[in-house]
Subunit: 249 residues, 2 copies
DNA sequence: ATAAATTTTGCATTATTTTGCGTTTTTTGA
DNA sequence: TCAAAAAACGCAAAATAATGCAAAATTTAT
C-alpha cells in the first residue's frame, strides 16, 4: 500500500468519523503504529488534520472572523486618545476619519455623550452604533477594502456640505515643513474636505509618525488646531511643533 | 475516546444546557471525575468556559466586542442561501439589503465572483470587503443602530438611481395576500426602492416567516421573482406561493 | 539490469502524557 | 460550626509519542 493511498484513506476516515485513532488505523491498515504516527505528523504539518494524543481530529476551520479587527498596540493608543476625550462636548457635530487610533477613540467615547458623528469608516461606524446617544451618519461611497473606508467623489460631496464643530483626523505622517501627508491620494482629498468642513481640527497619532513624510499632502501644520500624541506636551521632540502654534495635548 | 472529542462534547453540552456538571459528565463519558475536572481546568485556562464549584458555565461573553455578530441558526441559514448562489454571475450589479440571512449569504459568495454590490448594511459591507473581486459600494445615510443599517432619504435617493440586475431582500414577513411586509416603515420604503431598481428580485427567508404579517407593506408577491426557503420547492406549504407565479428555489 | 542512493518501515528504548486512586484541603449549605 | 460534596495534590500505572537505528523497499543512475 502506497503512502499516498494511506493518506487518502486516513483523510476519508477522518471525514467519516470526525476523528481517527492511531491504534485503529494501525490495525486496519496492518502497519505499525509508528508508521501511522509518521503519516499523521506529515498530514498535520500540511495542516490537513490536527494530531492529538491518541490520534487526530479535523482541523477546526479558523472562523476567520472578518469582524474582529486587530489593533496594534491598543493600550498605547488608548493612552493617546483618552487625552482627547476632553475635547468632546454634548451637541457637537463631529467628523471622524478612519484608522485604528480613531477606532480606539470611538471605543472610549463616553456612552452619555450626545452628539452627531459623521464617519466613512466601517469599523468606527460599527463601534459607534453601540452608543445610544449618538446620532450616527455614515458617509457612503465606493469602499476601499483594505482600510474599510469609503472614498471618492461621493464622500467628498457629502463631507463638503457638513458644518462640523470638530474633526478627528488620523495621520499617516506629519512633519514641520509639509504638515500632514498621506499614502493614498484619495484619502488625502477626503481629509482636506474634512478640514474645510470643521471649525476645529484635531489629529491624533503616536510619536513615531513625527517627522515622516508621504506622497500626498493634506494640510499645513497651521491648519491643525490640536495634535495629540503619546508624548508629554512639553517633550523636546515636539518643540518645533509647539512653535508653529498648534495646540498640543 | 480522544481528549479532543471529550472537549468538543463538553463544549456542545455547555452550549445546549448553559452549564455542565462534573458528576454528570463523568457518568456520561464513563470517566473519573478527576479527568473531567482536568478537562474543565484546561478549557477554563483557554477561556472557553468558566469553571465553578460542581462543574462549569459559559464564559460571560464579553459583549465588549461589537464586531462579532451573533447569527442565530447559522447552519440553517447556510442551507437556505447556498441554494441562491446559482443566481450569481460575473459582472452583475447587485443590491443587498440587511439581515442575518443576507449576511450569511455574503459570507458564502465565492471569492472569484466579479460583481458590483451595493449595500446599506454595515456587517454585510464588512464581510464583502474581504472579497477581492467585488466592487463594493456602501450606501450612506443615518444609521439605524440596532440593525446596523442606514436608512432614510439619503439611502432612497442613492438606491433609486441604481440600475441593478438583481437584488436580495431579507424578509421580516411574507404572506399570500399582502406579500412582503416589514416592521419598520423606513426599511419598507428602502426595500420598495430596491425592488424598483432591480431587474430581478430575490427574497430569502426561513419557512417560519411564511404566512406572517407586519405593519408596513413592501411589495406584492407578484413583484418577487424568486423566493428561497429551507423547504423543498415542492413542499405543500409553498403550494399557494407556487401558484402565484413566483419562482421557488 | 544492476548497483548505489534514498526513502520507508518496524523495532527497541526512552520520554512524555494521560488517567485513576488515596489523601488532604477547600467550598457549600444547613 | 459542622458535615457532606467537590476540588486539589501527589503519585504510580498505563498508554502514547519521540528518537535512534538497522533492515527492507523503492527509486535513481549508470
Amino acid at each position: 500500500m502506497l503512502k499516498a493511498e494511506r493518506h487518502k484513506y486516513i483523510m476519508t476516515k477522518l471525514i467519516e468519523d470526525q476523528k481517527v485513532v492511531t491504534t485503529d488505523l494501525a490495525l486496519a491498515l496492518d502497519l505499525s503504529e509508528d508508521t501511522i504516527r509518521r503519516d499523521l505528523n506529515e498530514l498535520d504539518s500540511k495542516k490537513l488534520l490536527e494530531k492529538v494524543y491518541g490520534g487526530a481530529v479535523q482541523v477546526k476551520e479558523k472562523s476567520a472572523n472578518v469582524f474582529d479587527i486587530a489593533i496594534s498596540e491598543e493600550e498605547e493608543k488608548k493612552k493617546i486618545v483618552s487625552k482627547a476625550l476632553s475635547l468632546l462636548h454634548d451637541d457637537q457635530v463631529i467628523i471622524m476619519s478612519g484608522g485604528s487610533t480613531n477606532l480606539v477613540f470611538a471605543k472610549l467615547i463616553p456612552s452619555d455623550l450626545k452628539a452627531t458623528i459623521y464617519t466613512y469608516s466601517l469599523p468606527i461606524a460599527m463601534q459607534l452604533s453601540q452608543h445610544p446617544n449618538i446620532d450616527l451618519i455614515f458617509i457612503g461611497g465606493k469602499m476601499q477594502k483594505n482600510a474599510m473606508v469609503t472614498i471618492g467623489m461621493d464622500v467628498i460631496q457629502v463631507v463638503s456640505k457638513i458644518k462640523a464643530d470638530i474633526c478627528f483626523i488620523g495621520a499617516s505622517s506629519i512633519n514641520i515643513k509639509q504638515g500632514l501627508t498621506e499614502v493614498g491620494y484619495e484619502i488625502s482629498i477626503v481629509k482636506k474636505a474634512m478640514i474645510e468642513a470643521s471649525d476645529r481640527v484635531v489629529s491624533m497619532f503616536s510619536a513615531d509618525k513625527l517627522n515622516t513624510k508621504m506622497p500626498h499632502g493634506v494640510c499645513e501644520l497651521t491648519q491643525l488646531d490640536t495634535i495629540v500624541t503619546d508624548l508629554d506636551p512639553y517633550d523636546a521632540k515636539l518643540e518645533e511643533y509647539r512653535k508653529s502654534g498648534v495646540f498640543i495635548l
